[in-house]
């Protein structure tokens, strides 16, 4: 199973975007999505059956059949064999979060619904095998999963309850923010280095012709 999903370029979902802070769609985007949902809902049931759902995901994502059916079973929480707009909206948010590399933020902001989605049996606990089955949804690597259960299984029952899961989301969010900060600092460092090099070149050339030093403030 490929970990990174890509939306089909130029597809309708490809043009949507999540609010980066709350990881939700804007009202305008939801309106468009509702219209799109109604176009797919050929039977006018306000739902999509498994055939329509499969072909929709097959068309717009790079997931294979197994992954699509796992997602369908996860979203069909009433076991009706159909997906309503609420579940469809949730799915689109997950897809967009993955597309825009906002998985950590998404799980942090929506820890309760994500927990309920992963808790297939309704036992208010998530086992490692469940998590592993859905790691393609949230791009969680095996190593991270092992650390997760090692560090956050406070009760020691080899499963995560909601509080433990919430701690995990806070921790991953902190890690994500640190990573962002490190990348920003790295970029800033590169820019400063480039500036210094330029200044040095200018100094050298001016020295050669005029014997003048240029200070940083002038540049």
């Amino acid at each position: 199973m490929s970990a990174t999903m890509k939306l089909k370029q130029g597809s309708f979902l490809w043009y949507l975007y999540l609010d980066k802070l709350y990881c939700l769609l804007s009202v305008r985007n939801v309106k468009a999505l509702l219209e799109y949902f109604h176009l797919l809902d050929v039977h006018h049931n306000n739902t999509l059956n498994d055939v329509l759902f499969y072909h929709f995901l097959h068309h717009v994502t790079s997931w294979n059949r197994t992954q699509i059916m796992i997602v369908f079973n996860m979203l069909d929480w009433n076991a009706m064999g159909e997906i309503g707009f609420d579940q469809f909206y949730m799915l689109v948010c997950i897809l967009l979060a993955q597309q825009n590399h906002l998985e950590e933020q998404f799980i942090f902001r929506h820890s309760r619904p994500v927990f309920e989605l992963l808790d297939l049996d309704g036992e208010l606990r998530i086992g490692a095998e469940n998590f592993h089955m859905y790691n393609f949804l949230f791009n969680i690597k095996k190593q991270d999963l092992r650390e997760l259960y090692h560090d956050f299984d406070i009760t020691g029952d080899r499963r995560l309850n909601y509080k433990e899961f919430k701690l995990f989301t806070i921790f991953t969010m902190d890690k994500y923010q640190e990573r962002q900060k490190a990348e920003k600092d790295k970029d800033k460092g590169k820019k400063d280095l480039l500036k210094k090099k330029r200044l040095h070149h200018v100094n050298v050339s001016l020295k050669q012709f005029l014997g003048i030093n240029v200070s940083e403030s002038r540049l």
Binding site: S11, F12, Y15, K31, A32, E35, Y36, H38, L39, L40, V42, N49, D50, V51, L52, Y54, H55, F56, H58, H59, V60, R65, M69
Partner: protein, 187 residues
Amino acid sequence: MEEKPFKASLGSHGSDKSSPDNDIRNLWTRATLSQPKLNVPRSSVGENSDMEGGGIGRKSRRWYNQKAGRDSDGGWEEWDDGEDKGSFKQEDLNESSLLELELRRASSLGSRLGEDVDSVTDTEMSSSESSLSISKHTPHRAYWMEQQNRLPLPLMELMENEALEILTKALRSAAPLLGRPCSCSLP
């Protein structure tokens, strides 16, 4: 260059309509004075804003509700029903006469533009500004309200084409299984 479009629009659109629709349809045709590039289909005429008055606003709201509720595909045709035209005329004479006055002012400003090409710079700026401010409040309100309530056409086209592709594939995969006892419906 701006002269031809508005002259053409006055000429071509203004003459065809019968009197019950004249007031409302003229709002759209004379609107091209200030925004000559505006291409609005004739069938979109009539959606005046709620701000202009209860009568027109109520009718347009009803039309919007019909369209939004997807009761029928004939949303446009339902508006064209003669019943509506009559009630427009009775209820909204005052509103339409006010609008007519404003539009006549706009058209006189526009005609001045057409006649005097040399002094175009100052007159054009002031007239376009005033006609813009007038037009913002009158016919274009209906246009902007329609834009706010509907999705943009390119987006609709994209969605429809994509949905059509998906549904065609779904039908092709499910067609061989239709009529058989259901065991597995997926390809």
